[in-house]
Symmetry: C2
Amino acid sequence: MPNKMVVALGGNAILPADHQAPLAEQYGALERACERLLPIIGQGHQVVITHGNGPQVGNLLIQQEEAARLVPPLPLDLCIAMTQVQMGTMVQQVLTNQLRRFGIQREVVTLVSHFLVARDDPDFRTPSKPVGPFLTEEEKRLAETRGHTVHRIGHGPRPYRRVVASPAPLRFLERHVLKTLFDSPAIVIAAGGDGVPVVLDENGAYHGVEAVIDKDRSAERLAEVVLADTMLILTNVTHAYLRYGTPQQTALSSVTLEEARRYLTEGHFARGSMAPKVEACVRFLEYGGDVAIIAALDDAAEALQGSAGTRFTRS
Amino acid sequence: MPNKMVVALGGNAILPADHQAPLAEQYGALERACERLLPIIGQGHQVVITHGNGPQVGNLLIQQEEAARLVPPLPLDLCIAMTQVQMGTMVQQVLTNQLRRFGIQREVVTLVSHFLVARDDPDFRTPSKPVGPFLTEEEKRLAETRGHTVHRIGHGPRPYRRVVASPAPLRFLERHVLKTLFDSPAIVIAAGGDGVPVVLDENGAYHGVEAVIDKDRSAERLAEVVLADTMLILTNVTHAYLRYGTPQQTALSSVTLEEARRYLTEGHFARGSMAPKVEACVRFLEYGGDVAIIAALDDAAEALQGSAGTRFTRS
């Protein structure tokens, strides 16, 4: 039976390690990534694909700074929108061409995606998500004159980096359109780069805000919007582990909602990497999802069959 | 009776003359432009909006060059995709907020849009559409090493500019999705920056190509895809004129298909500005459209009623 599915492609899983790699290498990495999705799409599942855009937005922010004396730099929300589509259009092209090679003429489409976040999300008080290039002392001062928060997070001549909030996504602005497209024969790419963050002002108008949406939450919200039964988080490790990095580490193959909550409380998963993924799986099951899976991109099809990755179910 | 309508917003009509104007000014100009569309949307027409992105793509190309020693410049097709959405997301925000102010809760959505063009479009042999910044002699040589065609089109220390082909759009890649959304309650922004141009290779795979799609043809193709009955081209002049710029100039208020063809043959309209607009109107009527209108943005609602602008009909 076909599933209604969100597939989240982690940036590390689909891009070359060198963020300044030539475009041909980036397309090559996407070719390999999308090939892993073909068996899943071939089975006729309804699929929405989401993906990171960290390296792309980093590059675009460097370009904004380098040309600042000629062209006014754009705010982060527009840079996210632009790189959302830079990546989206590349995934769309690669996947469309691969599908055609197999005689599958399905339209792949990139939906420009915004998430409403709360103006008073606690993360705005203690922003900590680094974005853009490393900065010198002088560049740090310039950034601060623009109202940016800058933290020292390294050593040497460029120890600083801008940090922004990573608020929780509340509402997907294009939700009716997303649902319409999800229920059509199209394969939808949505919420790339985790979506453009916007806030409502006192008049009920929305505006972009300089923040980066929490990545795993974004995938989970997307799954809620389309009423997905399955959420597949593809990354560069094969499983979630108990006691990861210790001699006693144990790969988890199947986990109930209750177990997942307990493991989270016991602190088995690394903050900022595996913990938010497991939290997203828990939230998805709580919302009514049937199965959430964390797996390596290479194991995508097997994970969906149940023979690879870590599988979370309500009981 | 509600119309099925494509509204094309000319870049000159919706943006400040200074392409490096602060973003707040750009939003201000979009506020004024979108206000002109509100009466039309309020009447319940099905609307797809398309818009230019020339200044944005120009700025992004400058940024690509300025940062080239740090970040590999992206090809023109990706720059078009990115600025298509930079503008699209701004129009989407401004229009959504204005509609909400009037209590209209319609989703506005930006569709990433590609047009297939022919690899052997004659324009590829004689590219003449200038893109990006003016270049010095040295920058010209650098551009040529990258395979760019550069023409001398000015004077002084920066007389050169890159030129690309402006091929005719053949097929809208996301056509089923566009039709689905057009027939939904959403207001769709599509083919911004005239769409990302792609070509098919010998294996039937598509790839971006360094070109800029002909703007008025792009609007007309869009009208064909959604089976529009009305095409509204909004620009910065109030009418198409006979003998424009002479003491005998005459504003046209209504024109039949046959008259339009004759005026085109007689050379009444300026190449590169009014002529392609009138050609697009002719093509639209030939395809089966009912009414094509060329009008000033400020006159949008009146033009649709028939009391402003130049109105083209089949007979």
